[in-house]
């Protein structure tokens, strides 16, 4: 593995990366599964983790049921549909609130609501299914 760069760790998480003609300061932090880098106002996620995530997302779905999840920890402020309801692509089905902002959760496609797994007022965690559509 030959690299044209010479890398020097100059402080915790801080690297000077040099060639004959160029010297850049790069900041790196986080465990291998959640590694971040910063250079010149740009933020980078470690691409290996991103590639793994992309491979995961590309796996064929065997079930026709799709669950919608909260993008971050949030409070459910409104559930707008009940099981059995039909929704159109783009319809708001649930309204969450986090950091004082409303976050509408919308149907990704025309579908029927199979189940609702949250209640108004409930604090929900990311990736927990809120609602199932088919």
């Amino acid at each position: 593995m030959s690299s044209p760069f010479s890398v020097t760790r100059i402080a915790d998480g801080t690297y000077r990366v040099e060639t004959d003609r160029q010297s850049e300061t790069v900041y790196v932090a986080g465990p291998p599964a959640n590694r971040w880098a910063f250079w010149n106002g740009h933020v980078f996620r470690d691409t290996r983790a991103a590639e793994a995530a992309a491979a995961h997302a590309a796996r064929p779905r065997t079930a026709v049921v799709q669950s919608l999840t909260a993008p971050m920890p949030a409070t459910v402020i409104k559930v707008l549909v009940a099981p059995g309801a039909t929704v159109k692509k783009g319809d708001t089905v649930i309204i969450l609130e986090a950091m004082k902002m409303e976050l509408p959760i919308r149907a990704p496609a025309d579908a029927t609501v199979m189940a609702v797994h949250c209640r108004e007022g409930e604090l929900v965690q990311p990736d927990a299914p809120l609602i199932e559509l088919t």
């Binding site: 593995m1 760069f5 040099e18 790069v26 880098a37 250079w39 106002g41 986090a98």
Partner: protein, 499 residues
């Protein structure tokens, strides 16, 4: 003079207030929720009192709990900061009744100016121009709908108690009215506990320019010039500066005069801001009273940088009953200052607020750059509170030099572990419209919306090299770097020399 002051806030503004108190020899009492037990403002204060669970409604928004903390700690004054209870008249009144000095205007002024409806009426009688609009006495959906019809589309439905773009909805088409009323009312109740709404004609392509005012208890009212705050996303300010590139000297004269008139009409005391919308350009521009913010503003450092005064210190002096430290004739605007607000949010994914641990957080140190922040490396940004984590304020002799300094600071400000809006801020600052001083409040939601997309660039090879080096389990520099390691590591050189 105040002896012991309770800071009824958190984050960067709590730290800002604590620093001003330290300069004046005032003891400080911090309050904190369970989520903030280890927050920087708690460590910075002389003492700290826990006031309840993480949810703001049960801690930073709880009047009884904060007053209990003030009594228990023997505080003779309280600074509310901004947000939370800062503009809540019941809170100010409760302080007054408890014999605690509220660092801000009297509660009846908060009540009058806090009602956008009351403030509009007062400004109309004081001869300050206002945007055409109305507030139905009957707050039913039907009556609000009729008010929108009378004002005409496009219109804005706003929370009377609102601010910061919350509880506000734009209506361009008749079929949007019902949803707008519901959403504005719901947000207004959630954020301010008051669902009263009013309707205003939309001023197209307005600029947002506000005037800092300050009044003492001895009849003196001054202004500290303007702040341009037109770079907004959904009515949330992102970049602020002073002077405004939009004001001619004649317009500045008129607006600052109107602002002082407005503060006098309100019987104002302490620091306040009169927000105006500007329609048109040059000396033909017209300005309208938008609202009065009866508190210290997030963007107050911009004014401090160009006038050279300490607004928080002046707040404490005036709240102690002393006269304003400066007459109008002593106040001048010198150079240019620009502030950028750093938010924990992901602009490329709908500005989703981000929560998590700050794995690495290093503030830049550059000439003419001030950072007001409330976070530290290793600390957590929680979901419970406002996602603003820091403000970067750059000052220069000209607008160009201040902008260049701000860009340099943001390029040298690593924040890792959560996404922030820094890449978007850089794109705005480098945009030709910003550089020409030609931004209206709709820019980021319209023509400039694309700036928030595809912010990530491909990982350059030198960043890959640093990532690979960081993979080394010992965190020691990898073998490939021996050449430069020799230059950097005195121990290695020493060893070589001995050997």
């Amino acid at each position: 003079m105040i002896r012991r002051l309770l800071v009824a806030n958190r984050g960067e503004i709590a730290l800002r207030i604590i620093r001003a108190c330290r300069e004046l020899g005032i003891e400080t009492v911090a309050v904190y929720s369970e989520a903030d037990r280890r927050a920087p403002h708690v460590a910075a204060a002389d003492r700290a009192v826990g006031i309840g669970p993480a949810a703001a409604a049960e801690s930073y928004l709880s009047i009884p709990r904060i007053l209990d903390a003030a009594r228990a700690s023997g505080a003779d004054a309280l600074h509310p900061g901004y947000g939370f209870l800062a503009e809540n008249p019941a809170f100010a009144a409760a302080c007054e009744q408890a014999g605690v000095i509220f660092v801000g205007p009297p509660s009846q002024v908060l009540a009058q100016m806090g009602s956008k409806i009351g403030a509009r009426r007062l400004m109309q009688t004081a001869g300050v121009p206002v945007v055409p609009g109305e507030t139905p006495e009957d707050q039913s959906d039907d009556e609000l709908r009729r008010a929108v019809d009378r004002v005409g589309l496009p219109a804005v439905v706003k929370a009377s108690a609102g601010g910061g773009g919350k509880g506000m909805r734009l209506v361009r088409r008749a079929e949007e009215i019902a949803d707008a009323i519901q959403a504005a009312r719901r947000e207004a109740v959630a954020a301010f506990g008051d669902g009263t709404l009013y309707v205003e004609r939309l001023v197209e392509r307005p600029r947002h320019v506000e005037v800092q005012v300050f009044a003492d208890g001895h009849g003196q009212v001054v202004h500290l010039f303007e702040r341009e705050c037109s770079v907004q996303r959904r009515h949330q300010k992102i970049i602020e500066e002073s002077p405004s590139p939009a004001l001619t000297p004649a317009l500045r004269e008129q607006m600052t005069g109107a602002a002082v008139q407005a503060a006098r009409a309100a019987g104002y005391r302490n620091a306040g801001t009169i927000e105006f919308l500007i329609e048109g350009t040059g000396n033909d521009a017209r300005f309208y009273f938008l609202e009065m913010n009866t508190r210290l503003q997030v963007e107050h450092p911009v004014t401090e940088q160009v006038t050279g005064v300490d607004l928080v210190r002046a707040q404490l002096v005036v709240a102690s009953g002393e006269p304003l430290p400066w007459p109008q004739s002593a106040l001048t605007q010198r150079g240019h200052a620009i502030e950028a607000r750093i938010y924990a949010e992901d602009p490329s994914h709908g500005f989703m607020p981000q929560a998590g641990r700050l794995l690495l957080y290093r503030e830049p140190r550059l000439p003419g750059v001030r950072i007001d922040s409330g976070v530290v490396e290793g600390g957590d940004v929680s979901i419970y509170y406002d996602p603003m984590i820091a403000k970067v304020i750059a000052t220069g002799e000209t607008r160009e030099s201040a902008t260049a300094r701000l860009i340099a600071a943001l390029r040298d400000y690593p924040i890792l572990g959560i996404r922030t809006n820094v890449p978007l801020l850089l794109r705005i600052l480098e945009h030709s419209r910003f550089q020409a001083g030609d931004i209206d409040t709709g820019f980021l939601d319209g023509e400039g919306a694309a700036l928030a997309e595809a912010l990530d660039i491909e990982t350059p090879p030198w960043v890959r090299a640093a990532l690979a080096a960081d993979d080394e389990p010992s965190h020691q520099p990898p073998a490939t770097s021996h050449q430069s390691l020799d230059a950097w590591d005195p121990w290695r050189q020493l060893r070589d020399w001995r050997g």
